[in-house]
C-alpha cells in the first residue's frame, strides 16, 4: 500500500544539468545518465546490458567513456577522473566533460570487446543471429579484428528449456537483459543468472519454460545469439528476407510488427526492427515488444486446410469456381432472399479482425445495396444491452498512453491476455514513473496486482455499486466512504489516502475498463458507473475501454454496427448517393449476438459473413453452427475449409492478414496500416473486392473502387469530421517513399505501397466527443451477497487473445500457444483449501465440470474463481451471472473424477 505522504508523482520536475559532450554543450535532466542524454543528442555509445526499458545493470562495461570533472581545488577546471566511467550508470553532473570517442574511450571499447569474446564461440556461420548480431557489429566497429585467446573456451551443456526459445549458453555474454526483462517487464522472475564467475550461465529453474505471453521478446532483446527463436531456427538468413512493416491483427494495443518473407512464405514475425545506431526514448522502446501470439502465430495461412479458390454449391458439394462466377452466385442468392423475404431477412457479419475499409464497405453494402441495418461485428457480448453499453463506452473513449498519466484505475479484467502490449505499457509507465495503480472489481489482473497501490476487491455484480460509492466519496460523501470500506474491506485510512490522491484536480488520470469481463454480463451497469466516476473526477481524467477484438474501434468508427453510421447522416447520404428521402436504416438492425435466435425464429434467411472466425469464436458456437442449416442462402469468406465453410452456398477464398492492405484502429484510437507482405495465395481475394464485386452485380452504385486506398479515402472523409481533436496528422500529405527505409544489412524494406502519397497515418488519433455522463446522486442499492460454503466459489471468466481467432489453431506451433485451462484464485482461498500454484483441481458448476490447473494470484477477489474462457473452454460464456461452483482438488498422480 502506498504510505508516502507525498507520492513521487507529485514531486516537481527535475532541474536542468548543462554539461559538455564531445565538445558540444548539451543539457540533461538531473538524475539522467550519460547514455540517455547522449542517445537523445544523437551520440551513440555502444552497449549490451543497457536497455532503455530495463533497469541498469552495468555489467558489460562496453559503454565506458572518458569523463572530466570540474575540480574545486583547481578553479573548477575539468580534471580527468582516475578511471573511465560507464555511461549507463553515471549520472550527468553540471560542468562535466564527457568524451565518447577519445583514445581512452576507444581503447576501453576494444579491450572490453576482447574480454567479451574470450569465451564466445566463433560459430557465426551457423548462428541464427548472424546478420543482426550486436557482437558482430561491435567487433567490426570497436574490436581489434583478431583474437589473442589461445586457451580452450568454456563450454556448457545445452538445455531444452523452452519450446519456443532456444538457449545456446556458450554464446551468452551475461548482459542479463533477458533476466531483467522477465523480472521487470513480463513481471515474473523466471529466468536467472546461475553459478558464479566464469561459470555463470542463464536459464530457468529446473529447466522449465519461460511461460509468459511476452516471453518471446527475450529473443529480440538478446544482443547476441544466445536466445533465438525455435520455430525460425535454421530456416533462413535474415539478410535474404524481405521485411514488411505491418501491424498485429490480434493485439488491440495496435502493436506494430515486421513480417519477414521470402518466396511467398512467411519466415518470422518480429517487432519493428530497430535500426542500428538509432536513438530512442523509453516510451518508444516499450512499444517495440509484441506478444507471443502475434510473434509465433502469424504463419497459419500456409496451413494445408487452406482453400485457395472460390467455391459454389452444386447439389451437395462445393466446387471450385471462378471469382466472377462466385460473385454472380452470391449476388443472385442475396437478391432472391431480399425479393422473397424483404431486406431485413438478410444480415452481414464482419470479423472483428476485418480492416476499417472492409467494415466500411460492409456497412455501405448492407445499408444501400441490401437496404438493411443488419450489419455487425460484435459477437462476444452476452446481450444486446451489453453491446449498447460497449457502444456507450466507445463514444466516451478518450485516452492515449503517449500523454502519460499521474494515476491509473483499472476495473475488472485480464488485460495482459486481452491487450498484451497495452497492458505492458500501462504497467511499465506506472512502474518506471512511480505512478499509482488502483485496481477495482471482482477480478484484478494478476500482472498489475504486485504493483498496485490500492486493490479494492468486491464480488461479481458489485463493481458498479463500488464505482458509484467511490464517485460519491470523491464528491465528499462520508457515508459513501464508510459503505465502500464495508463492501471492499479496505481500511478507512487507506481509503482516505486514495481519495486524497484522486481528488487532486490537476492530475491527469486514466480509467481503464475491460469490456471482455464475463462477456459483458455486467457492462450495462459498470460502464455508466465508471463514466459517472469519470465525471466526478473531473476533466483531467481519460477513459479507455479495452476489448480483445483488434479492430473494435475501427469497425465502430466505420459504422459497421447497428445504430452507427461512419459519419454525420447528411454527409453519409451525400457520399453514398442517397437523396433526403431515400431509406437509410441506422437504428434498426439485429445485433450479431442474437443471430442464432433470429435464424431459428426464421427472421433471418440469408447471411453474408466476412471472415468465418466470427462464427467459430461465437460464445454459443454450437447453437449458431446448427442454425446455419436453416438459412436459405449463406455466403462466407474465409481461408480454411471448416464445418462452417462447408455449409456455405458460396465460399470466397479470402486473402489473409499477410496478403492484404487495410487500416486498423487500436484501443487508444491510433491508426495503423496492415500492409500486404505476400501476394494473395491462389485465387484468394481481399474482402473489399468481394463486397465491391457483389454490390456491382446487384446494381449498387458507388462501388467502383480500384484499390483499397480509394475506399480509405472515401471513408476517412466521413469518419474524420466525427472526431474532435488531432486529425491534422492524418491529413498531411507526404512523399510516397518516406516510409521506405533501407536496412544497413541491405535487406529491402517495403513501405505501404498501396497508399500512393495520400495520407500519413502515423500520429493520427481519434478522440470521440460525447457529453460527460452525470455522477449519480446516490448509489444504487448493494446487491445481496451469497453465502459461500467451504470450497465454493463464484466463477468469473474472460476471453484471451489466444482464444479470439480459430485461425490460430492452424498456426504451425498452435499446440505450443495453447494453454491448459486454468483457474485463478486468491491466496486466501488457496491456503484455506490447501492448494498451491500448479495443483490440479476440478471445478463443478451445476451438472458441468472441468479440470483446471490452479493459479494462485492476488487477482481475483476472495471467493471468486477466474477461468479464462478463450483457452479451449467456453462453457461459461453464455451465462449472464457468475455461477456458483464447487472446487475439488485432484491429488497428484490420480485421474480426475469423471464429469458428473
Amino acid at each position: 500500500m502506498a504510505d508516502q505522504s507525498v507520492h513521487p508523482s507529485l514531486k516537481p520536475a527535475p532541474e536542468d544539468v548543462p554539461f559538455v559532450l564531445n565538445g558540444k554543450e548539451v543539457v540533461g535532466k538531473k538524475g539522467e545518465t550519460i547514455i540517455t542524454v547522449a542517445a537523445r543528442e544523437g551520440v551513440y555509445i555502444p552497449h549490451y546490458c543497457w536497455h532503455p526499458s530495463l533497469s541498469v545493470a552495468g555489467n558489460c562495461r562496453l559503454c565506458l567513456v572518458e569523463v572530466h570533472m570540474p575540480n574545486p581545488r583547481a578553479d573548477n577546471k575539468p580534471t580527468p577522473l582516475p578511471k573511465p566511467a560507464i555511461a549507463c550508470q553515471t549520472p550527468v553532473v553540471p560542468g562535466m566533460h564527457v568524451f565518447t570517442e577519445s583514445e581512452l574511450a576507444k581503447d576501453c571499447q576494444s579491450g572490453m570487446m576482447e574480454f567479451l569474446l574470450v569465451n564466445h564461440p566463433l560459430d557465426c556461420p551457423i548462428c541464427d543471429r548472424g546478420g543482426e548480431c550486436m557482437l558482430q557489429r561491435y567487433s567490426m566497429e570497436y574490436g581489434t579484428g583478431h583474437a589473442r585467446m589461445v586457451d580452450k573456451k568454456r563450454k556448457f551443456k545445452k538445455p531444452q528449456a523452452d519450446p519456443l526459445i532456444d538457449i545456446e549458453r556458450n554464446r551468452c555474454i551475461m548482459c542479463t537483459r533477458c533476466v531483467r526483462f522477465c523480472d521487470e517487464v513480463a513481471g515474473e522472475h523466471v529466468m536467472g543468472v546461475f553459478a558464479r564467475g566464469a561459470d555463470n550461465y542463464i536459464g530457468t529453474f529446473g529447466q522449465g519454460p519461460v511461460s509468459n505471453i511476452l516471453s518471446g521478446n527475450v529473443i529480440d532483446i538478446c544482443p547476441v545469439g544466445c536466445l533465438t527463436s525455435r520455430p525460425f531456427r535454421f530456416k533462413a538468413r535474415v539478410w535474404e528476407l524481405v521485411q514488411t512493416q505491418s501491424t498485429s491483427v490480434w493485439d488491440a494495443s495496435g502493436a506494430k510488427v515486421t513480417y519477414w518473407t521470402r518466396s511467398n512464405q512467411l519466415y518470422r514475425t518480429t517487432p519493428p526492427s530497430r535500426k542500428y545506431h538509432e536513438t530512442y526514448t523509453i516510451n518508444e522502446d516499450t512499444a517495440e515488444f509484441i506478444d507471443n501470439i502475434t510473434r509465433f502465430g502469424s504463419d497459419f495461412p500456409a496451413h494445408e486446410d487452406r482453400w485457395e479458390e472460390s467455391r459454389v454449391r452444386i447439389g451437395e458439394g462445393l466446387v471450385p469456381a471462378a471469382f466472377r462466377e462466385a460473385v454472380r452466385q452470391a449476388a443472385r442468392g442475396l437478391t432472391r432472399v431480399r425479393e422473397q423475404h424483404g431486406p431485413d431477412a438478410l444480415a452481414v457479419l464482419v470479423s472483428p479482425r476485418a480492416t476499417m475499409e472492409e467494415g466500411y464497405l460492409a456497412a455501405k453494402f448492407a445499408r444501400t445495396v441490401i437496404g438493411t441495418g443488419n450489419v455487425d461485428w460484435r459477437m462476444s457480448f452476452q446481450t444486446a444491452e451489453a453491446s449498447d453499453a460497449a457502444a456507450l463506452a466507445f463514444s466516451h473513449a478518450s485516452g492515449d498512453l503517449e500523454d502519460g498519466f499521474d494515476a491509473v484505475v483499472l476495473v475488472n479484467g485480464d488485460y495482459l491476455h486481452q491487450a498484451p502490449v497495452f497492458a505492458m505499457q500501462v504497467k511499465e509507465y506506472a512502474r518506471l514513473n512511480e505512478k499509482p495503480l488502483i485496481l477495482i472489481g471482482h477480478h484484478h489482473d494478476a500482472y498489475f496486482a504486485p504493483h498496485a497501490s490500492w486493490q479494492l476487491h468486491c464480488r461479481p455484480g458489485e463493481t458498479a455499486h463500488v464505482l458509484e460509492l467511490l464517485a460519491l466519496a470523491v464528491r465528499g460523501n462520508d457515508n459513501a466512504k464508510d459503505q465502500l470500506s464495508a463492501i471492499t474491506g479496505a481500511q478507512a485510512e487507506e481509503l482516505d489516502k486514495l481519495l486524497q490522491l484522486l481528488g487532486h484536480a490537476h492530475r491527469k488520470g486514466l480509467l481503464i475498463q475491460s469490456l471482455e469481463d464475463m462477456n459483458g454480463a455486467n457492462l450495462p451497469q459498470d460502464v455508466p458507473a465508471l463514466l459517472g466516476l469519470k465525471s466526478a473526477l473531473g476533466e483531467a481524467w481519460d477513459y479507455i475501454p479495452v476489448l480483445r477484438d483488434r479492430n473494435a474501434f475501427g469497425l465502430y468508427a466505420a459504422g459497421a454496427q447497428p445504430g452507427r453510421l461512419p459519419g454525420a447522416e447528411g454527409a453519409v447520404r451525400k457520399a453514398w448517393g442517397l437523396g433526403e428521402s431515400a431509406a437509410l436504416p441506422v437504428d434498426s438492425g439485429v445485433p450479431a449476438r442474437l443471430l442464432a435466435e433470429k435464424i431459428e425464429a426464421g427472421e433471418i434467411k440469408g447471411l453474408l459473413c466476412l471472415g468465418a472466425d466470427i462464427l467459430h469464436n461465437a460464445p454459443e458456437r454450437e447453437r449458431l453452427v446448427a442454425a446455419l442449416d436453416k438459412l436459405e442462402f449463406f455466403a462466407v469468406t474465409d481461408l480454411f475449409r471448416s464445418e462452417i465453410t462447408e455449409k456455405a452456398d458460396v465460399f470466397f477464398a479470402a486473402a489473409s492478414h499477410l496478403e492484404r492492405d487495410g487500416t486498423y484502429c487500436d484501443l487508444e484510437g491510433n491508426l495503423a496500416r496492415l500492409v500486404e507482405a505476400l501476394p494473395p495465395a491462389g485465387g484468394s481475394r481481399p474482402d473489399w473486392e468481394v463486397l465491391a464485386g457483389i454490390a456491382k452485380e446487384m446494381d449498387g452504385r458507388g462501388f467502383d473502387y480500384s484499390s483499397v486506398a480509394q475506399v480509405f479515402d472515401e471513408m476517412i472523409r466521413l469518419v474524420a469530421p466525427d472526431f474532435a481533436g488531432s486529425f491534422k496528422a492524418l491529413m498531411l500529405k507526404g512523399p510516397r517513399n518516406d516510409l521506405t527505409i533501407k536496412d544497413p544489412g541491405g535487406a529491402r524494406t517495403r513501405g505501404p505501397e498501396y497508399n500512393p502519397g495520400d495520407y500519413r497515418i502515423d500520429g493520427a488519433h481519434f478522440r470521440w466527443k460525447a457529453d460527460p455522463l452525470p455522477t449519480p446522486e446516490k448509489a444504487s442499492p448493494a446487491p445481496e451477497r451469497q453465502e459461500l460454503n467451504e470450497g465454493e466459489f463464484l466463477v468469473t471468466w474472460g476471453e484471451h487473445v489466444q482464444g479470439s481467432d480459430y485461425h490460430l489453431d492452424r498456426a504451425s506451433i498452435a499446440r505450443l500457444l495453447k494453454m491448459a485451462p486454468t483457474a485463478e484464485m486468491n491466496p486466501e482461498d488457496a491456503y484455506r483449501l490447501g492448494l498451491e500454484d500448479g495443483d490440479r483441481a476440478v471445478v463443478h458448476t451445476g451438472s458441468d465440470s472441468i479440470e483446471v490447473v490452479v493459479k494462485v494470484r492476488r487477482g481475483p477477489a476472495p471467493g471468486v474463481l477466474y477461468i479464462p474462457s478463450g483457452l479451449g473452454d467456453a462453457r461459461f460464456a453464455g451465462l449472464s451471472a457468475a455461477p456458483l461452483a464447487r472446487l475439488e482438488a485432484v491429488e497428484a498422480g490420480k485421474e480426475a473424477a469423471p464429469a458428473g
Partner: protein, 167 residues
C-alpha cells in the same frame, strides 16, 4: 501468509517457528534467504529442487531466485553429500604442501570410486574448495565445520577413522 499453510510444508514445515523469527529481523522477507537456506541444508545435508521451491514460497520469491543464490555459493550443496562432508583446500599453500596427495589418499582409503565425490557407503563426501584461511597449517581440510590442519596420512586416519567408527 498464514503460518498453518507453511507448517504443512513437507521439508521445512517443522522449522517454521525458527524461520519466522529470522524473517522478523528483516524489513523484507526475502532478505532471510541465506539463513533459511542454512536451516534447510543443516537439516537435509543438501538443497534439493523441492527444498528451493519451499524456501521460495516461505520468503515470497520465485524458485529461480533461490536457485541463483544456491548456485552462487559453493557451500550450498546441490547434490546429496555423505554423512561427513570433507572440504579439502586446493589453493596455493595447500597445493604445494601436498593437497593432491591428501585427496588421493582419502579417496583411495575411504572407498571413493574414481570420479565420484561420495564414498560407496555414503559416509564421506569430498569437495575441493578454494582457500579456507588455514595456510599456516597447510594442507588443511574442513570436516563438517571443524578444521583439521597439518594433514598427514596418520592425522587423516586419526580424524576420519574415529568418525568411521562412530557411524
Amino acid at each position: 501468509m498464514p503460518s498453518d499453510r507453511l507448517r504443512s510444508l513437507p521439508i521445512l514445515g517443522s522449522r517454521v517457528g525458527e524461520i519466522e523469527e529470522i524473517c522478523a529481523k528483516y524489513p523484507d522477507r526475502r532478505s532471510a534467504m541465506l539463513p533459511v537456506l542454512w536451516i534447510a541444508q543443516n537439516q537435509e545435508g543438501w538443497i534439493s529442487e523441492d527444498t528451493m521451491k519451499e524456501v521460495a514460497e516461505i520468503i515470497g520469491v520465485t524458485a529461480a531466485e533461490v536457485y541463483e543464490v544456491v548456485s552462487f555459493y559453493t557451500m550450498f550443496h546441490q547434490h546429496p553429500v555423505g554423512r561427513h562432508h570433507i572440504a579439502l583446500c586446493k589453493t596455493l599453500s595447500c597445493a604445494i604442501t601436498g593437497a593432491h596427495e591428501v585427496s588421493a589418499y582419502i579417496r583411495e582409503k575411504y572407498g571413493f570410486d574414481s570420479g565420484k565425490n561420495i564414498s560407496r557407503d555414503g559416509k564421506f563426501s569430498i569437495e575441493e574448495v578454494e582457500c579456507i584461511g588455514a595456510c599456516t597449517e597447510a594442507p588443511a581440510m574442513l570436516v563438517g565445520e571443524t578444521l583439521h590442519g597439518d594433514l598427514t596420512p596418520a592425522r587423516i586416519d586419526e580424524v576420519l577413522g574415529s568418525l568411521d567408527k562412530i557411524t
